[in-house]
């Protein structure tokens, strides 16, 4: 049987990968994908603890996290489209001015 700590370490690794992606990438779409990786890392923790404690609430909150992720993706991608129309670029450095 797999110990709980292995799931937690895997989840921490995934979260670190997502955080690194947000900081290192210079493409708005890849940054949003990295945010999804981080959300999934947290989901894995919730499900692992749900199994560990024998409590369904961990899985239920995972369900809500997925809903929030869907909403976040819809709004985030709408923002990306709106920004791309203005600057013809996906590089976050192109959007440093607040007004143009």
């Amino acid at each position: 049987m797999i110990p709980l700590s292995h799931y937690l370490i895997l989840s921490a690794t995934l979260f670190a990968i997502g955080a690194a992606g947000v900081f290192l990438r210079k493409n708005l779409i890849t940054i949003l994908l990295s945010v999804e990786i981080m959300l999934n890392a947290v989901n894995l923790t919730f499900v692992a603890f749900s199994r560990f404690a024998g409590d369904l609430d961990g899985q239920i909150i995972t369900f809500f996290v997925m809903t929030v992720a869907a909403a976040e993706a819809a709004v985030g991608l709408a923002l990306v489209i709106a920004l791309f129309r203005h600057r013809e670029s996906l590089n976050p450095d192109a959007f440093t001015s607040l007004k143009w």
């Binding site: 049987m1 797999i2 110990p3 709980l4 292995h6 799931y7 370490i9 895997l10 921490a12 690794t13 995934l14 670190a16 990968i17 997502g18 690194a20 992606g21 290192l24 990438r25 210079k26 493409n27 779409i29 890849t30 949003l32 994908l33 990295s34 999804e36 990786i37 999934n40 894995l44 499900v47 692992a48 199994r51 560990f52 024998g54 369904l56 899985q59 239920i60 995972t62 369900f63 809500f64 997925m66 929030v68 992720a69 869907a70 909403a71 993706a73 819809a74 709004v75 991608l77 709408a78 923002l79 990306v80 489209i81 709106a82 791309f84 129309r85 670029s89 996906l90 590089n91 450095d93």
Partner: protein, 177 residues
């Protein structure tokens, strides 16, 4: 034994695919690789006796959210990142910052791993303290969502409505009526 093999197989698949997601310059490949990563996570959820979450992961994440990302990548015909410009101007690429940042991040990972391994309770097998039937029932989960978590469920519906309206308003062309 097969449990251990599948765990490490899915874990490796997830981590490698996630690493490749942030290593790609072409967002199209990133989206495809993230779907692979979600497939690996879904396998882990099945191992954790969470069939509903595993199926929702495939249907909602890989099926809906990633397709939305794919639509946008194709719609924008997104340009690849400019590698030379990225290497020259990125603040994390400055020599001092890079070294200290790498050392600190490495230390944090080492500390987290040792801390997690040191807690004896976390080293008991994940399914040892509870029966699988307490967590793998979709029936119980639905009952719990619609009784104890009704408010959160209703708030989620409001959130989705707001997100839907927000997406339409944001993505609309400015001249449109």
């Amino acid at each position: 034994m097969p449990e251990i093999i599948t765990f490490y197989l899915f874990a490796a698949l997830t981590v490698v695919a996630s690493l490749l997601v942030i290593g790609q310059r072409n967002p199209m490949y990133s989206v495809m690789l993230l779907i692979v990563s979600f497939g690996g996570l879904s396998g882990l959820y099945i191992q954790l006796e969470a069939p509903f979450v595993a199926v929702a992961q495939i249907i909602i994440y890989a099926g809906a959210i990633m397709v939305l990302f794919l639509f946008v990548v194709m719609l924008l015909n997104a340009p690849k990142e400019d590698a030379a410009d990225w290497d020259r101007t990125h603040p994390l690429r400055q020599p001092g910052v890079t070294r200290w940042g790498t050392v600190l991040a490495g230390l944090l990972i080492v500390q987290l791993t040792t801390a997690l391994l040191a807690v004896r309770e976390f080293n008991t097998p994940v399914g040892a303290q509870s029966d699988a039937s307490t967590v793998n029932s979709v029936h119980d989960m639905g009952r719990s969502i619609f009784t104890r978590h009704t408010f959160a469920f209703e708030a989620t519906s409001l959130l989705i409505l707001v997100a839907m309206v927000g997406a339409v308003v944001l993505a609309r062309r400015e001249g449109d009526q």
